[in-house]
Amino acid sequence: MKPVQLKAEVMRNEKLSSDITRLTMMARDIADIAKPGQFVMIRPTSCYDPLLRRPFSLHQVTGDGLIEILFKVVGRGTRILSAVEVGEFLDVVGPLGKGFLDSSRENICLLGGGMGIAPLLFLAKWLVSKKTGDLNFNIVVLLGAATDSEILPLLDDFEVMGLNVKIATDDGSLGYHGFVTDLLSKNLDPDNNWIIYSCGPYPMLKKVAGISRDNNWQCQVSLETIMACGIKACLGCALPKSESMKLTDTQPYAHVCKDGPVFDAAEVKWI
């Protein structure tokens, strides 16, 4: 489905913590066709500085045309967006990129770190609705963050679906004290055929990719690069492909905005 450009009315601006914001916008033409793992690009201001659109994963999408993004203030663009008011309109392009792919494996693990949690809620809802009635499937959700305040406001959204959520925090303020990747060995029976859906910081994803490879699990990762266009027009978002991928393709780079942001972990040249 083709992306659209629209003016989305801001319906809700939630401050989940001092630096985490969740925006709900009315964007029917995007909501109607969006898939988990896809993203939108939002223009932070109509002035020319900051100039480029900012990419955000779709965090939730509802049947009545609403889309949500969840983001952390890390610079000027996100600072401006965190201050938008209900009733303002944002210039949004989307949905963009390839989302997460369904898998035949019945043991599903969603692993998110930091703001990487954002797309996993949309993904979880989609998986739950797809698998409903299928008694064999099993979803484990592993969420990691620096501290409890980055996770607590989101916990409910996962738990209302009846999902089994395990938490890790860097400071031990909630759940396991340590890396979220440590929860993989603690919670996943390695003998099962797992599919891991993961989003978060690059080092975390690299670790997840390694563990998955070692265990012969499937693994899909959502990656970030700096993006100018989001539609494979600028070729700015190049990501080195793994050697195995290069055999079938003379181009050593994938383009995250269109070929991704979700990749099979085996396709990525981890550096």
Partner: protein
């Protein structure tokens, strides 16, 4: 829209543009990428991403960096190569109902000649735009763009190998851009396009490394508009072939500035990323400007700066 009423059309010799609004090479993919945002048929023309004889893989990432009102890019001229371009991209481009300019780049005069020859045989191409100015490739490209003698030689070679209109795209990283513009005219160019990006750099103070994988890159966007406009004005006074104005054009007013300065058409680049509909908005804006000012044709704007 009725073309006669619109009066936005401009002609470059035998080449007719329904309006002076085009897209800039490397910022509009191969057209298809923007087809859900823009009615391509409404544009005066589109310029595709620069094409070389062989495919190019481009530079290592990061390839783009945001700057104040602009961006740096060091894509490194990644492209599918002329054969794949013809076999995979032209089919779509032949049917969009507007002019297709193919931007070409090479490492030698000979490369440019062979590209021109190959494209000349390909139906559906309106013109060739010769990129002699991309600052990202370390081989021949850089020298071409700054040396008038080389500019003339490349132009002559391309003209001799094709019957299509040929536009030479000039580098702004020179002391006197009117010299390279005149060299292009001398070599038989049908027009000049300017400007390409300004060579720039950015550093990450935390890692203490250049932000771009290629260290330096090309600066584009609103930040460079004043430099581009000055160069277009200087060149338009010096050559009698058409000038296509490029550099930071985002709004209708920007486009009018370039037309007043002497550009017969404009190309929109970085603005496509910021507002995918920018080109079509400018077409509509120019139409309105003519009507609001009781002008019957865009020709009454081109070069009409009052000094």
């Amino acid at each position: 829209m009725d073309l006669k009423k619109a009066a936005l059309n401009v002609n470059f010799g035998s080449l007719q543009l329904k309006n002076p609004v085009m897209t800039a090479s490397g910022t509009f993919g191969y057209g298809e990428e923007f087809s859900s945002f823009v009615n391509l048929n409404r544009l005066g023309g589109i310029v595709v991403k620069g094409i070389s004889l062989k495919p190019r893989v481009g530079n290592p990432p990061p390839r783009v960096a945001e700057t104040a009102s602009g961006m740096l890019n060091a894509i490194g001229l990644e492209n599918v190569g002329v054969e794949k371009f013809i076999s995979e991209k032209m089919e779509f481009l032949r049917n969009i109902g507007t002019n297709v300019f193919v931007n070409v780049l090479g490492d030698s005069v000979d490369d440019y000649g062979r590209l021109a020859e190959r494209l000349n045989d390909t139906p559906g191409i309106s013109a060739i735009e010769v990129n002699i100015s991309c600052p990202n490739v370390k081989k021949g490209g850089v020298a071409f763009g700054t040396d008038p003698a080389m500019v003339e030689a490349v132009t002559r070679e391309v003209k001799s190998k094709c019957s299509l209109p040929v536009f030479i795209k000039l580098s702004p990283n020179v002391t006197d851009i009117t010299l390279t513009a005149r060299a292009a005219e001398q070599g038989g160019a049908d027009g000049v396009s300017l400007i390409n990006t300004l060579l720039g750099m950015a550093i990450d103070v935390r890692s203490r490394r250049p932000i771009l994988g290629n260290v330096v890159g090309g600066l584009s966007g609103p930040a460079i508009k004043p430099v581009a406009l000055r160069m277009v004005w200087q060149v338009a006074k010096q050559v009698s072939i058409p000038v296509i104005g490029i550099g930071g054009i985002t709004t209708t007013e920007d486009a009018i500035e370039f037309l007043l300065a002497g550009a017969s058409a404009v190309q929109v680049g970085t603005a496509n990323f910021v507002d995918p509909r920018a080109t079509e908005n400018i077409v509509e804006g120019l139409q309105k400007y003519l009507e609001d000012n009781n002008l019957s044709s865009i020709k009454e704007v081109i070069g009409k700066l009052i000094l």
